[in-house]
């Protein structure tokens, strides 16, 4: 902290930047903005983190594509008005981010690790696979089997001018991100692009496996951070299925993954998204998913989130055309002293959209905590919207906590919307029913707890994936049942 204080003093409101010529600190160049919002420029910590991110990247990147440059520029610009979130900020009212704040945040090395040093389990998939370590693609499998015109890989490797142009158009298009979204844009060493051309239906699912190569020992207060980023661009009538899976280190390792994904779905396109977060128990995981849905497009996401001591997912879907279909099915599990947070937001601005949301969570630790803020905004022109939302929580330990904020904001007057929330322990009647049939209470409890998440896990589109995740959840829950 002390060592860097001299650096961030550059950004104090009334200081004058002397380093305009240094390209690495390009957000310093945005003087006009700083001047107008100077009252918000009071978080030196944020600027310090941003600067360490830039420093680490400047060591390695020789060439920067225009798209990556655009990402960094817009992110740098937006970060100037952002401060570190506290519980006084509504979006973080129940989510304590001090775990990250109190550590020494250290960007991971920007040099990709060799593919030989990645754990073999990361390649364990029957699907096309892309292993992303610290934000860099380090290995791929079966990618060449995708149909012609599909591109999957680093933004630096795009050779088609058309794709380059489209990516440049959409990258960092989203304006409502928070600090973590912007930090990712500054710290991403590269970003991975998935491009599906018009009317191309990709049948084989694409499996992303994310891994962090560096970690700090628990107690050392060093928190290596990586900023992986993916942009999925599906043109009109295109379809693809994505599995996004985060693996973790063991329980003694601390690290932070600050990940972001942009999904842009053209007219009539379809993206099926499975998001599996199984980080190590002492990690921080902050994640943004931004989805832009054009007319008659479909986006379905199934999330299973079990890892991290602090896990926060911001899922934002923006409708930009009518008759869209959106489905969220999410399951959060806390078996340790951990926080699992989902902030979802669906903004409907056009008529005829349908959406279904199911959020389920289990808190099986006395200091475990689940936070859910599910916002559906049905704006004035979003007539004939059909939106449903349900959240159910299971608290298995005394003092375990859950904070739910299901909220529908409806301005249109011809819509069908519903929401509901329920919090409970296991039902005594259900337990007795099992026992009355000769099933002991331990087995009965287990069956009831495991079945609680099944409703969401059953939505996972592939049996092999479903079985793997069911096993994973079972392994986590078994010791606490």
């Amino acid at each position: 902290m002390a060592t860097s204080s001299t650096t961030f003093s550059h950004f104090l409101p009334h200081s004058i930047s002397l380093s305009l010529s240094k390209p690495k600190l390009h957000f310093k160049t945005i003087q006009p903005i700083r001047a107008t919002i100077s009252s918000n420029l009071s978080d030196p910590l944020v600027l310090q983190i941003a600067e360490t991110f830039e420093d680490s990247l400047s060591l390695s990147s020789s060439t920067t594509t225009p798209s990556l440059q655009k990402l960094r520029d817009t992110s740098s610009q937006s970060i100037l008005s952002l401060s570190w979130p506290t519980v006084k900020d509504e979006p973080f009212r129940f989510t304590d981010t001090s775990f990250i704040k109190t550590c020494e945040i250290k960007p991971v090395s920007s040099i990709p690790i060799p593919s030989s040093s990645i754990p073999s389990e990361l390649n364990d998939t029957q699907f096309a696979n892309l292993v992303i370590v610290d934000g860099h693609v380090v290995s791929s499998y079966k990618i060449s089997e995708f149909p012609k015109g599909v591109f999957v890989g680093s933004v630096n490797d795009i050779d088609s001018e058309v794709i380059k142009k489209r990516v440049f158009e959409f990258v960092s298009d989203f304006q409502d991100g928070d600090l973590f979204w912007s930090l990712n844009g500054i710290g991403a060493p590269d970003f991975t692009v998935v491009y599906v051309p018009s009317d191309c239906k990709v049948e084989m699912p694409l499996h992303f496996t994310f891994f962090s190569s560096e970690s700090g020992d628990i107690g050392s207060k060093v928190l290596p951070v990586s900023n992986p980023r993916v942009l999925v661009l599906v043109e009109k009538g295109g379809e693809i299925e994505i599995i996004e899976e985060y693996f973790g280190a063991d329980e003694n390792q601390c690290y932070w993954v600050n990940s972001a994904m942009e999904v842009l779905i053209g007219e009539g396109g379809k993206v099926t998204h499975s998001y599996i977060q199984r980080q190590g128990p002492n990690s921080a995981h902050t994640k943004w998913t931004f989805v832009r849905q054009e007319a008659a497009s479909t986006y379905k996401v199934v999330e299973i989130s079990t890892g991290g001591t602090l896990s926060r997912h911001n899922l934002h879907v923006q409708q930009v055309g009518p008759d869209t279909v959106t489905e969220f099915s999410t399951f959060h599990l806390c078996v340790n002293d951990q926080t699992q947070d989902l902030h979802s937001r669906l903004v409907l601005d056009h008529p005829g959209g349908t959406s279904q949301q199911l959020h389920k969570c289990i808190v099986a630790h006395s200091s475990g905590k689940v936070v859910f803020d599910g916002n559906v905004k049905v704006n004035r022109y979003a007539q004939k919207t059909d939106a449903g939302q349900l959240t159910r929580s299971l608290l298995l330990e005394p003092r375990a906590s859950v904070n739910l904020k299901p909220n529908l904001q409806i301005i249109a007057d011809d819509v069908k919307c519903s929401h509901g929330a329920a919090i409970s322990d296991l039902e005594a009647d259900q337990l007795f029913y099992f026992r009355a049939r000769g099933i002991d209470s331990k087995t009965a409890r287990k069956a009831l707890v495991l079945s609680f998440g099944a409703e969401v896990m059953n939505q996972l589109p592939h049996k092999s994936l479903r079985l793997k995740i069911e096993d994973h959840v079972k392994n986590l829950l078994t010791p606490v049942l």
């Binding site: 029913y433 026992r435 009355a436 409703e455």
Partner: protein, 325 residues
């Protein structure tokens, strides 16, 4: 179907006597039960002796139970013997059962009737160990063992079954998984290998016909979205698959139309053998037209105040509970 039924009889007959009944035996169920009525008249008398007595004289009631057995040398085994059973609601300590006495032997069908709040449903729940109630006195011997010492699951595994009046929904657990778990709990108890899902399906499949249910029913979650009739059928399906020496049917007739009632009754009759017995708890004589009891017990204010044959149920139906009291 016939072959798979054979297979399952051989593999399960030893521990579930209900299962040995061929599913088409409905028509002969009367001929099974009628001869045993004659044989057991004497044990029936015990209860008749008791009826003029009230709880004050309960001590003297117990004596004939054993003596009658000795004198008659009745060979049929006592399955369940309830003596002076008292119980309270666990939460409020309000007394519901005030000294219930009942003896059930192999092959017998009993019916417990009574007004709302007389304690008949509590009686059945207490027998299977429902945590809402606390036993405060008396004994219950099931197949020679102290039932009250057993946990609910031990009671079930020992061969006591209760079909619930309103079975609870269990979302997320499919019917087949539930039956699989319950069946394997029995296998485990008997020291036998657990069955895999395919094997369990072979066992359940013929039972579905018994309760007239489609196999798609197995993939639905336990009782979730079931109609009243489907819930009752499902209870009987569980009984058919798991088997029991004593089956307590708590208002199996409530919420059923005549057709469904006939189906359920037929299924129960199909499960009756000379080795097991049934205790029906009901409000209405109607059920007794389909499942013929040997003894009808009238319950009032936490006690069995009268025991007789099916004629008292008819009297009750005609003239109400006043005629009994």
């Amino acid at each position: 179907m016939a072959t798979s039924l054979q297979f399952q009889i051989t593999s399960t007959a030893r521990f579930s006597s209900f299962k040995t009944a061929p599913s088409n035996s409905t028509s002969n169920s009367r001929s099974i039960t009628i001869p045993s009525i004659g044989r057991l008249t004497s044990s029936c008398c015990i209860n008749y002796h008791r009826q003029p007595l009230t709880a004050k004289a309960s001590l003297s009631v117990e004596l004939p139970t054993t003596s009658a057995k000795d004198i008659d040398g009745d060979s049929s085994k006592i399955l369940l013997e309830v003596k002076d059973l008292t119980a309270v609601i666990a939460e409020t300590k309000q007394q519901i059962l005030k000294g219930v006495n009942l003896v059930m032997r192999e092959g017998e069908v009993h019916a417990v009737m009574g007004k709302n709040g007389s304690g008949k449903s509590t009686f059945s729940k207490v027998l299977v160990g429902h945590p809402d109630y606390e036993v405060t006195g008396g004994t219950v011997i099931f197949k020679g063992e102290n039932l009250l010492d057993m946990s609910p699951e031990e009671r079930s595994l020992a061969g006591l079954f209760m079909s619930f009046q309103s079975p609870v929904e269990i979302p997320g657990v499919s019917n087949i998984d539930f039956l699989h778990m319950a069946y394997n709990a029995r296998q485990q108890k008997l020291g036998r290998p657990e069955l895999d899902p395919l094997q369990i399906y072979q066992i359940i499949s013929p039972k579905l016909e018994l309760v007239k249910m489609d196999s798609s029913f197995l993939n639905r979650n336990v009782n979730e979205g079931f109609s009243g009739g489907e819930r009752k059928r499902n209870e009987i399906l569980q009984l058919a698959v798991l088997g029991a020496e004593v089956a307590i049917l708590d208002e199996i007739d409530s919420g059923l139309d005549v057709d469904a009632l006939q189906d359920v009754a037929q299924a129960v009759n199909g499960l009756l053998t000379a080795q097991n017995s049934v205790l029906m708890v009901t409000h209405y004589q109607r059920l007794l037209d389909y499942i013929k009891p040997k003894y009808v017990h009238i319950m009032e204010d936490g006690r069995i105040i009268k025991t007789g044959d099916v004629s008292i149920a008819k009297l009750l139906d005609k003239e109400g509970y006043k005629a009994i009291a």
